[in-house]
């Protein structure tokens, strides 16, 4: 545990990716099983323990600290695990810190009634870093600037393996990953997914930049619509079908009708998950109703029918097509659809164009057509896991912008824990821009990106100097700063007072120069809602 705690601490303070990789690599190389496997599990998606941390902490903290002081401390530190680790009284006498394996076994096997005394005892056995690590583990995946991908990359580096090989066996292994480490160390067989439909890492595109165009030849490129859904991989084996998100998370349970559609087939296909009614794609907002649901009712399936529009075919039966060119794979995909024609599935057709000027004019229509933009792909591109350079580009539709007024600011977390970095902004309602006295501001969104560190400093200063009220970590500010907000789309949202929600809002410009009464009105935004 102390070793893992030390690793977390080092990772928190290390900015360089290479140094993080080295720290992780060293940890995995020198820590015995099963602890290193539990650590890998913690960094890649959480330990297989369910622990109601908030409730248990509530129970044990009453004996430790005054609730008001706790609240103030938590507000200041910005993180529950860290707050508790810092204010926990140091235990007198010798300590026997638990190993990671002790922690997992203890909480996997004990009844919830015993959780509070067990946690209390463990916290007593650990130092500040150890307590932090323990609480982070019990609270879910610790956010220490390490993605699952980085953890896997460190394994690849440390054991001199290709990361995509690790990704391919990833769904065939489970915590504490003893089988995986044995294979990596050359002491065991490659974990065999057998008949399991495992995830194959996706090929991703780069946003297209001005400097990319001169290197592209229209005749070498195919264009596709960038559909406004979520990218998925459907992996089908005769025994089982699984649906994976872009990042390899399994989402089969949310879309049982797609799993049924592919039942009995043997393939790995890449496509876009959409809600389609009578052949018409529904707005993204409809798809959101289906996401992150443990169970999906029949009614849900009827009202929000899921559909997969296929882009690519990676595996067909025993054949791995990934080494073939895009056009060759496309031929196979077309034939495959013709042969099997699974329900709720169709092909994403290519967009034909004469030259890039023509393509540009097509791209300009994407806003009106409620399509997210265009994809450009080299005809010769093999299917390469990751985001290889020079093959695929995404050309997103231009964002919408609107001038809003900053209303509230909240302190960030982590690196920004003392800065007011999250902003809620609003527009005028029931009043004209010329006469705002008649109206009021209604919040329409929240953004925390799109500005530089120097601008963050200025914004933070502005907020501190213009605070009108405080609610815990949130400050209300004098409505006088105009933020130009760029966003991809607006959706109706009954949960918000304004009745709308923005998609991907970010700060495009800070309009220090613009008077607040010149900001936009709610009517302006409502006009941008998708037409039903």
């Amino acid at each position: 545990m102390q070793r893992f705690a030390q690793l977390l601490d080092n990772l928190v303070y290390t900015q360089s990716r290479n140094r993080k990789l080295a720290l992780l690599g060293d940890y995995f190389a020198t820590t015995p099983d099963p602890d290193r496997g539990w650590a890998l599990a913690a960094l890649t998606g959480g330990l297989p323990i369910r622990f109601p941390l908030r409730r248990v902490l509530g129970d044990i903290l009453t004996d430790i600290i005054d609730p008001e002081l706790y609240k103030m401390s938590r507000d200041y530190v910005g993180d529950t695990a860290e707050t508790v680790s810092l204010l926990w009284p140091e235990h007198e006498g010798t300590r026997s810190p638990p190993s990671l394996n002790d922690v997992v076994e203890t909480f996997q096997t004990t009844s919830p009634n015993a959780h509070a005394p067990l946690l209390k005892n463990m916290l007593d056995q650990l130092d500040t870093s150890g307590r932090f690590a323990l609480l982070k583990l019990l609270g879910g995946a610790p956010r220490v600037g390490v993605s699952a991908r980085l953890a896997k990359q460190s394994l690849a580096n440390g054991f001199e393996t290709d990361i995509n090989d690790i990704e391919e066996v990833w769904h065939a292994v489970s915590p504490p990953f003893e089988e995986l480490f044995a294979w990596l160390a050359g002491e065991g067989p490659r974990p065999d997914p057998g008949l399991k439909p495992v995830f194959r890492p996706l090929m991703l595109a780069h946003p297209i930049e001005d400097q990319d165009w001169p290197n592209l030849e229209p005749q070498d490129i195919v264009a596709e619509w960038k559909w406004d859904g979520i990218r998925v991989q459907v992996a089908a084996k005769p025994t089982e079908v699984r649906i994976y998100s872009r990042t390899g998370d399994e989402i089969t349970h949310s879309f049982p009708e797609i799993a049924s559609a592919f039942t009995g087939l043997d393939c790995v296909a890449d496509g876009e998950l959409l809600i389609v009614r009578d052949g018409v794609i529904a707005p993204f907002n409809d798809l959101q109703q289906r996401l992150n649901r443990k169970a999906v009712s029949a009614r849900m399936q009827r009202d929000y029918p899921a559909h997969v529009r296929l882009y690519d075919l990676l595996l067909s039966g025993p054949d791995d097509l990934r080494g073939l060119s895009l056009v060759e794979r496309r031929t196979q995909l077309e034939e495959w659809i013709e042969t099997h024609s699974p329900p709720r599935t169709d092909l994403s057709s290519f967009v034909s164009f004469d030259d890039f000027e023509h393509l540009q004019s097509i791209w300009e229509t994407t806003r009106a057509d409620e399509i997210e933009g265009l994809m450009l792909k080299q005809k010769q591109s093999p299917y390469i896991a990751g985001r290889p350079k020079g093959y695929w580009w995404k050309w997103k539709r231009a964002p919408l912008t609107i001038d809003c007024v900053m209303m509230y600011a909240q302190r960030g977390s982590g690196k920004r824990s003392s800065f007011y970095s999250d902003y809620t902004f609003g527009v005028w309602k029931d009043g004209t821009p010329e006469d705002p006295a008649l109206g009021e501001l209604v919040p329409v969104g929240k953004a925390y990106s799109g500005f530089t560190d120097a601008e963050l400093g200025k914004l933070d200063k502005f907020i501190r100097e213009n605070t009108t009220d405080r609610f815990g970590p949130v400050r209300a500010v004098e409505p006088r700063l105009v933020l130009e907000i760029a966003f991809d789309a607006v959706q109706p949202s009954p949960r918000h007072k304004s009745g709308i929600a923005m998609r991907f809002p970010r700060i495009a410009r800070i309009r220090w120069d613009k008077p607040a009464e010149d900001a936009d009105t709610l009517e302006t935004i409502e006009a941008l809602l998708p037409k039903q």
Partner: protein, 411 residues
């Protein structure tokens, strides 16, 4: 049997004072004072709101009120003004933020010692620090006092006592009409090789800072933290270390602690740290071989290679700023009490945080208040809400002064 509260007045009338007055006695006195019920009402009203209800009802005893008898007396002659804390019968401001006719200055940090006052009363070392920082004409006149050397301003008896914060730092002991107030300035309890240790002065009203006034703040032993730095220098000889330190006090304390670990290579200083370090040296502190970063005497600017594997001290603001671009790959270190919180270290891009502070941490703050046996506590700056809450809940009248112009971040 305890005497009635009113007769306790005058207990601290002599300069010798007395420290056998227990905390329990004083708080009991405050609670039994018949003049207080309206304050209880106020607090009860407040307690009806939200989370507070929970622990107020959980504890049978109500929290202490804002004021004690002596505190009420003291606040008639010592009170916050926009220019700073003002002692009316002495016609003097303590650590004023703008120029005044008469200032009493606790220590040389820029948010406490400013230039432009007519007459300044402080320690000789603080005067020297002000001369280095602001020049010889930074005040109309200085009057310096040794620790415990008594003086009278008007009808107020004044003494200074060591605060343990930095070189020359002092607590100010004010006595007027038999009430003793101690203004601590900034202070710490941990031993520091570069200044005199804090002395506990029993008093009626203790005016304290609360820079680290939250239970999450517990500083590490400074000598151990310096050891971490020296270990890192030894473990990573290919990378040099840039240590962010506040230029007055922290810089020299870290130099002394690093040398105590036997680190004997030359240590490089950012230009802003040089003069004050030389002042310490003029008092006889020996920091080994110190070199300014900027230039080598007679040879012009130093080459970047010279710093390889070396230790460079600079103001915190110079890390990740234009100045530090001359150094390629360095370990960013920062010695400050704020380093206790991960987010604070990450925000500054600090790779090696050293939790070394010249302020009291939470346990020391509570201990010090207990030891002064003050009947009432005034909090000048920092996390005053948490400290005031805690003190009142533990039965000690306390209030926040909300003084302006204190820079809490500079630590």
């Amino acid at each position: 049997m305890r005497q009635p509260a009113r007769q306790q007045v005058g207990r601290y009338a002599s300069l010798e004072g007395s420290d056998n007055w227990s905390v329990q006695e004083k708080t009991a006195m405050a609670r039994s004072d018949p003049a207080q019920p309206s304050l209880f009402e106020d607090f009860d009203h407040d307690a009806g709101l939200g989370a507070r209800t929970e622990h107020v009802t959980a504890n049978a005893e109500p929290p202490a009120p804002e004021k004690s008898v002596r505190g009420a007396h003291a606040e008639r002659w010592l009170y916050p003004t926009p220019k700073g804390l003002y002692c009316a019968p002495a016609e003097a401001y303590i650590d004023p933020v703008s120029p005044v006719a008469r200032a009493i200055i606790t220590h040389g940090h820029a948010d406490h010692a400013r230039s432009g006052h007519d007459a300044v009363l402080t320690t000789a070392k603080t005067r020297d620090i002000m001369h280095v920082r602001y020049g010889q004409t930074c005040a109309g006149s200085f009057q310096t006092l040794g620790y415990h050397e008594p003086i009278k301003l008007g009808d107020v008896s004044i003494r200074l006592a060591p605060a343990g914060h930095i070189l020359g730092s002092a607590q100010i002991i004010l006595e007027f009409e038999a009430t003793r107030v101690v203004v601590s300035g900034d202070y710490k309890r941990e031993a520091d090789p570069t200044c005199a240790p804090f002395e506990v002065v029993p008093c009626d009203v203790f005016v304290t800072e609360a820079t680290f006034g939250l239970p999450v703040f517990k500083h590490e032993r400074a000598i151990d933290e310096a050891g971490k730095l020296v270990a890192s220098l030894n473990d990573q000889p290919d990378r040099f270390h840039l240590l962010g330190v506040y230029g007055l006090g922290k810089c020299q304390r870290m130099l002394a602690l690093i040398r105590q670990h036997g680190y004997d290579a030359p240590i490089y200083l950012h230009g802003a740290l040089v003069k004050l370090t030389e002042l310490y040296e003029s008092y006889g502190y020996d920091f080994g071989e110190i070199r300014p970063v900027a230039t080598e005497k007679g040879k012009g600017p130093r080459k970047a290679q010279e710093f390889e594997g070396k230790l460079v001290l600079c103001p915190p603001s110079a890390i990740a700023d234009k100045w530090s671009r001359r150094f390629s790959d360095y370990v960013a270190c920062f010695a400050s009490g704020w380093m206790r919180v991960r987010g604070r270290a990450r925000q500054r891009g600090v790779e090696l945080p050293l939790i070394v502070s010249d302020h009291v941490d939470w346990p020391e703050l509570i201990r010090t208040i207990d030891e002064t046996a003050a009947g009432e506590v005034w909090v000048t700056h920092g996390r005053e809400d948490a400290l005031v809450h805690h003190l009142r809940k533990s039965g000690r009248p306390a209030r926040a002064l909300a003084l302006v112009g204190r820079d809490e971040e500079a630590e």
